[in-house]
Amino acid sequence: MNDAEPLIADILHFIAQDGCTDEQFDRLALRLFAYQYGANAPYRGFCQRRGATVRTVKTWSDIPAVPIDAFKAMELRCQPPLPTERVFMTSGTTRADTRGRHFHPHLDVYDLSMTRNFARRFMGDAERLPMGILFPDETAMPNSSLAHYLALAKSAFGDPASRYFMSPRGIDLDGLWQHLEQAERRGEPYALLGASYSFVHVIDALRAAGRSFRLPPGSRILDTGGYKGQSRELPLDAFYGELSGLLGVPRELCINMYGMTELSTQFYDSGNATVPSAKSGPHWIRSRLVDPATGRAVPPGERGILAHCDLANFNSVSTILTEDVGQPTREGFLLLGRAQGAEAKGCSLAVEEFIRSAAP
């Protein structure tokens, strides 16, 4: 376990820097790759079958990207289990054994990655803001990376008036209305953070009650994660239009965070005045677009499946292959939805329908 410590120290230092050169990124990415290649046998096998070894991997984009399904199939970890470790699990399925798991021996790296990035991409000039969280807390969801992310946002960036508005019975709407009224009265900026589907419920409740708010200038909203079948599906444009109209927060300050349980770093856009908005990450994560069948980069400018190389992912694998379709832009990439679940083009049964039919 100790052999990882100098590496972790360097990663922490790297994240704390104000940026990096391509060479610096490569150097750390290759060190991390060599460490993970050595410490994680299934990953080593995966790399070898692709002809990737410590010797042949010359730059971060040579590092084989592990499909996120692998987090379901096996324990992708370099350090042995610890009683104090945190395990973040993916949601989306009812069967516990098919949830992806990401093991964090400690959260030092995750937390530094989150706070450094959050301060810059969400907080603007503010150091602390009163925050309302539309998501369960860490006690209710100890294995949710999003619950931890939001708890950290609240403890590191929320002022004492910040609180959760999620109860086992759903969103505490009366409490939320009170806090929003208070913010309006005081004229102080307010931040509302939560799952995208929670905001749909808020939109619906405001519409039903015929209410709306005009939050003071500087107020902001962070949504993440999409609807996941937990609410009705709203097209992006309608979603941000409604949010902005009903809460009085300009669309430029409605920020969407794109994160994954399998990563330790998040991506943000710079508001959603127009959708889809470009997402980008901090200097310790890089993304490329690949053809999933070959794992090779798609021609420049073309859409592909997103692969991310996250230097904060020190204990699992730095480089993962998502199921998200991305389109490159100057600022970063556009998310064009999930590639999962190809429909059969003929009348042969496709995996998706079969799985749905087998689901309880």
Partner: protein, 492 residues
């Protein structure tokens, strides 16, 4: 870019300018095809349904079924003629819309059209009707009295998928039972049904108004409701969700015939695995995998191969991989879009994670994925009787080694409602024993390996009666016959 524009659908009684058109675009190798599909309003659909139903009652209903067969046969002769303009258009455009290799489409179409020639169609009718003349008029019934079959006055078809020309099945069935036919084109192959309707009208002009081919977006709206309201029978193809969506919109009195997605598989007995027969068998198996890149309901997803023959299951998987590699050179797989490519990669990787790492003892012999990861086909090998489940299609196939043929039925039983075709290579007694077991768990069709993807004329699609399911019988009971006798003018 070379852009070609065509108009799809077939709308008797409607001028081009009277309806709205929507463009579906297809692109391949720098060629672009724009297909204009008609979007009717509800009143237009209503009027069209009325027109088709009346025309069928007037022109199709009085035609003896043999005459209908003769007309279809003439249309097929045209489609089998490579120089006929219709066939030339099919050969040129269907590869473009479906993305399949042109030569594969050409071969597939020829094989398919051959099953709709007169002798095959007569067999088809005879398969369902002991006396085909019941379609033309009352025939004596064995129990006494007389019986006659009536097809639907208006049969609505909802086609799906991009296997070229698939609409032909249900259209021909509808014609043979003398129904007026209105079909909804699939967006993935919006061409063939319209051509066939036009060709039929050319071959036999009185049929011109007896069928129509339309389109609507997604599950359709008021126009779809207008058609469903007039149809007495609806035949639909597609995934269970799509079928369910249609079913929900139908009046309870409308007969609904649903053909869902299916899951095929093959079985190879040790008896078929000597050094001479196994390679040839693997070649035929590869054809079944290659045809339309496994998009057919009859396409195999897994071959269960018995141990104990001269050739081991693993060697058979190797032969199969070799044949798929050969076929890739002759009939390359269609270009995959991102979701399809991702699905194939996901499937391969789910198998890969079960691998021992290279370098561990015996790893090479146990590699469950045969061939280069970037190849346009995948053969996975497993040593157990893996339960039948879909592969990622696009020429991805599992070979599962089994000890006894009796292991197959339990392995596929879980897929119950999705079963249809089983390709079998086994000795005659094994064939019957297997067919008995497989039929009991839901298999409806047993064919030779190599013929899985070319069902014979008159097969019972999904175990149903293609024609009988479409008709209703009118019976004159003996009592009526007897009671009529005294009223005859010549009776005293």
């Amino acid at each position: 870019m070379n852009v070609h524009k065509v108009q799809a659908g077939y709308l008797p009684g409607l001028e081009r300018a009277q309806v709205q058109w929507h463009t579906l675009a297809f692109e391949q190798d720098g060629r672009r095809l724009e297909v204009a599909v008609p979007v009717l309003s509800a009143p237009q659909m209503d009027a069209l349904a009325e027109r088709v139903r009346r025309a069928a009652a007037r022109h199709l209903k009085p035609m003896p079924v043999s005459d209908i067969i003769a007309v279809i046969d003439r249309a097929m002769a045209r489609l089998l003629d490579r120089d006929d303009p219709y066939r030339r258009e099919a050969d040129a455009l269907l590869p473009l819309v479906s993305g399949y290799d042109a030569e594969m489409v050409r071969l597939g179409l020829t094989g398919f059209f051959k099953t709709f020639r007169a002798p095959q169609l007569h067999r088809f009718v005879a398969q369902d009707f002991a006396n085909p003349k019941v379609l033309d008029g009352f025939q004596p019934a064995a129990k006494g009295g007389a019986v006659r079959a009536h097809g639907p006055r208006l049969l609505a078809h909802s086609w799906a998928g991009n296997v070229p020309a698939l609409a032909l099945w249900s259209l021909v069935c509808g014609l043979l039972v003398k129904a007026g036919n209105i079909g909804k084109l699939p967006s993935a192959e919006p061409l063939f049904a319209g051509w066939f309707a036009r060709l039929l009208a050319e071959v036999h002009p009185p049929l011109a108004d007896c069928l129509a081919v339309v389109w609507w977006r997604g599950a359709g709206d008021a126009e779809a409701a207008a058609l469903y309201a007039q149809a007495d029978t609806v035949v639909a193809y597609g995934g269970n969700d799509a079928l369910h969506a249609i079913q929900r919109r139908l009046p309870v009195t409308t007969r609904f015939l649903a053909y869902g997605h299916k899951l095929g598989f093959g079985v190879v007995s040790a008896m078929a695995l000597d050094a001479l027969k196994a390679p040839a068998l693997a070649r035929r198996a590869a054809w079944d995998v290659m045809r339309y890149d496994q998009q057919g309901c009859y396409s195999p997803h897994i071959f269960y191969v018995q141990r104990g023959g001269q050739v081991t299951p693993r060697e058979f998987a190797g032969y199969l991989a070799g044949e798929l590699a050969n076929l890739q050179r002759r009939y390359p797989r269609r270009a995959l879009d991102l979701p399809e490519s991702a699905a194939v990669a996901k499937w391969r990787q789910s198998i890969e994670w079960r691998l021992p790492a290279p370098g561990t003892e015996g790893a090479a012999d146990h590699d469950p994925l045969i061939g280069d990861p970037a190849a346009a086909w995948s053969v996975a090998y497993t040593d157990d009787a893996q339960a039948l489940a879909p592969t990622a299609l696009q020429r991805s196939i599992v070979v599962a080694g089994i000890d006894a043929l009796d292991a197959v039925a339990p392995a596929v039983a879980g897929a119950g409602a999705y079963l249809q075709s089983a390709g079998i290579a086994a000795a005659p007694d094994e064939l019957y024993r297997l067919a008995e077991q497989l039929g009991a768990v839901g298999v409806t069709r047993v064919s030779a390996i190599g013929s899985m993807s070319v069902p014979e004329a008159g097969w019972h699609h999904d175990g149903r009666f293609n024609l009988l399911d479409l008709v209703r019988m009118t019976e004159i009971e003996q009592s009526a016959e007897a009671a009529a006798e005294p009223f005859a003018p010549y009776e005293p």
